[in-house]
Amino acid sequence: MTESVLIKIALVTLFLPLIGFIVTLLFGKRIKWLYWFENSILIITFLLAFVLAYFKLAYFTDQTIISEFQWINLGNVPILKTFTIELGIMLDNITVLMIFVVTLVSLVVHLFSVDYMKGDKRYNRYFAYLGIFTFSMLGIVLTDNLLMIYIFWELVGISSYLLIGFWYEKKTASNAAKKAFLVNRIGDIGMFLGILILFTTYNTFSFDKIFYQVSIGNLPFGTELGLTIAGILLFCGAIGKSAQFPLHVWLPDAMEGPTPVSALIHAATMVAAGVYFMIRIFPILSGDALLVIATIGAISAFIPATIAVTQNDIKKVLAYSTISQLGYMIMAIGVGAYTFAFFHLITHAFFKAALFLGSGSVIHSMHHEQDMRKMGGLRKKMPLTYVTFLIASLALSGIPLTSGFLSKDGILAGTFAFGSLTGNWWFAASGFLVAFLTAFYMFRAIILTFHGKPKNKEKYEHAKESSFLMAMPLVVLSLLSLFFWYSLNPFNPEGGKLLSSWVKPPEISVPQNARYDFMKTETEKVNEANLTEEITYSPAYTNALRTAHYPTLFTSASLALLGILFAFLIYQWKFIDPDELANKFKPAYKLSFNKWYFDEIYYATFVAGTLALSRAIAFFDNKFVDGIVNGSAFVTVKLSAFTGKFDSIVVDGFVNMTAYLSGLTGLFFRRFQTGKVQSYLMFVIFSIIILLYIFK
């Protein structure tokens, strides 16, 4: 097993889903069983990804394998020396872990969909779309350069467009698809601009080379500000794709797509791509850029969490919780808790996929009813779904013994350490508040859906446990939401190989004075401290992190339990009437229920503004620009009429003056164009005479 073999496996893993897509799309209409082709391709892909991850982590733990090929070569360019664009694949630990997660979630979603989508008239097409999505997602993960990440970024966007708008007969679905694509494009503009800045400065797209250039002090525009701007612009892409504030509005709408799609794209993989991208470019994010990122992350964690509390659609709750959790990860990156962001990305992928598939299972058995107020009591009808959903919810809420507890604890410790080092406690405060809210709304959802009495008898009667193919994925995913896969010590995230040896903080390329204070490398101090274990950034940070570990652990666990308790108080035991509570805090409730009016504000400003502008321009074009043209044409016609008149009255009049003398007055008012050859000849003669006179 050498590097080149690994690269070949990676390439096969990447392109297999594409083949699945092409074959299934082209022949899916004729050959009904072709979705099994796509599914088996996914199984192979998953196995390959597993092999890849195993060998990479076991034998090449500390190596980064890169393989590039030249895609575009514009030769020896006068200004830049050479202009080439390489496409390449990079395998490091993060990549292979990510591939494993992506293929696994994709596989279970494929299998889940076999029964979930049964009977759809575009059944095979659906699997084809899943194939192209998996391909694009793997592309994002495997790439070693910015351009390719942008390419697959867009491809992911378009496959998401196709999948959200899969039931395009519904106006809401096609609208949501369009909205998702366009909102993402806004972020992509920023991201592309960032890529342009970096390419213009370094003449390469490759991460490695850019990091190296930054580390030797070669900065965009020559200043640290340039690096910050580039970092923030690149982050714009992540804002769009990871549905961060203020571009988060597309994700809740995207729930119009089939539920397995929501599980795959809008929970586990695509939206995580933004976080993944931030992890990739972490070494060149300057302190200021990180602060912006952390702020956006904190806001995005908080606002959706407040919205999720009042939503009634089960998928909407999950959607907002996704945004909130992604905000967590982004915030973690912003405060420097890089490894925990990635950790949370993985754990979140599994338990959120489990939640979505669980909700899909519920929706399926309730005949596409999504309103939680019409559910209830499903615990008895669907025990397996209930248990898996519960485990995943516990993980999401951050209850000990689950994976979510480990990762969330890490993030909160990161924010806590950040607060203790910089004095900025806002992030920690927001993190803890969101942890409480999360536990609350998740258990609200569980209680409304599975506990209590059935609200809709008829649908309840028909509800039944899902088939094996649908239940299997739930079991797998909920098992993966338990702690022991990641760390054998349920209270210490670093107890497993994942964080202790596979995922490590990267070397920062940013110049010293543009970093956070605690990230500055102080060589002497490291030597003085003579610590046996590894140092993250600086001894101070390592210490702060260790100190923060236990307080955050207890605080977050108790806040989560408190949230659960509140949920039971209000919805299960009904000590507090939720409607009364809503009435009491009417403005807050309304704000939350209406999603902080983001859609309305955006529609009134940006959408309506653009449409009005476009109409104005069309009007301007039609009436003004074209008006000038037509006006000048009109003037020309009038002018020519005048010239004609002039001709017939003055010029022709002069000619006919002579004719008048000989008695031929009839010609006087006739037009210049007599239609008679002979009069033309007359003019010719006179013109010749005049010309002769001139040129004599």
Binding site: T658, Q678, I685, F686, I688, L692, K696
Partner: protein, 162 residues
């Protein structure tokens, strides 16, 4: 005043005078006959210019061919029953002024131009020289003209038949 001069003036007078009558007489047939004289005079001028072959061709083609065609035209287009072979005129005065001025201008130009003339001594027949030129240097033109003539005749025949 040599004989040559006298003959020249004679032919010139015939030519110009007949041409004047051609364009001024109202009766078309009369005009046609004066055209005959004018063409004849021109043929004479050709002889004087020692272009005997052209003179002969002038007589044969113009007088014998073209003029006949013209007269046929007159006869075919003016019904015999109510003979109206008189031709009207129009815009006489401006035309007269124009052509007079043009004529004077032309003559003035001819007079003021410094022509480089060569006085040829031998005034032999030019037929042989023409023949050689015709089949050597101008053979393509010659053939093209033949084709043109053929096309013109076929075209004229088909047009007139319609």
């Amino acid at each position: 005043m040599t004989v040559y001069d006298i003959i020249f003036y004679l032919f010139a007078l015939i030519t110009v005078g007949s041409a004047f009558f051609v364009v001024t007489l109202r009766n078309i047939l009369h005009s046609a006959f004066f055209l005959l004289f004018a063409l004849f005079g021109i043929a004479g001028l050709y002889v004087l210019l020692s272009a005997d072959f052209i003179a002969v061709v002038q007589l044969v083609v113009y007088v014998g061919g073209i003029l006949v065609v013209l007269i046929f035209g007159v006869m075919l287009t003016n019904k015999i029953t109510h003979v109206q072979i008189k031709s009207g005129t129009l815009q006489i005065i401006p035309a007269a002024i124009g052509t007079l001025v043009l004529g004077f201008a032309l003559i003035k130009i001819f007079l003021t131009t410094n022509w480089k003339t060569v006085q040829l001594s031998a005034e032999s027949s030019s037929v042989q020289g023409l023949g050689i030129l015709l089949v050597n240097q101008y053979s393509v033109v010659f053939e093209l003209l033949g084709i043109l003539l053929l096309i013109a005749l076929i075209g004229a025949a088909s047009m007139a038949r319609r």
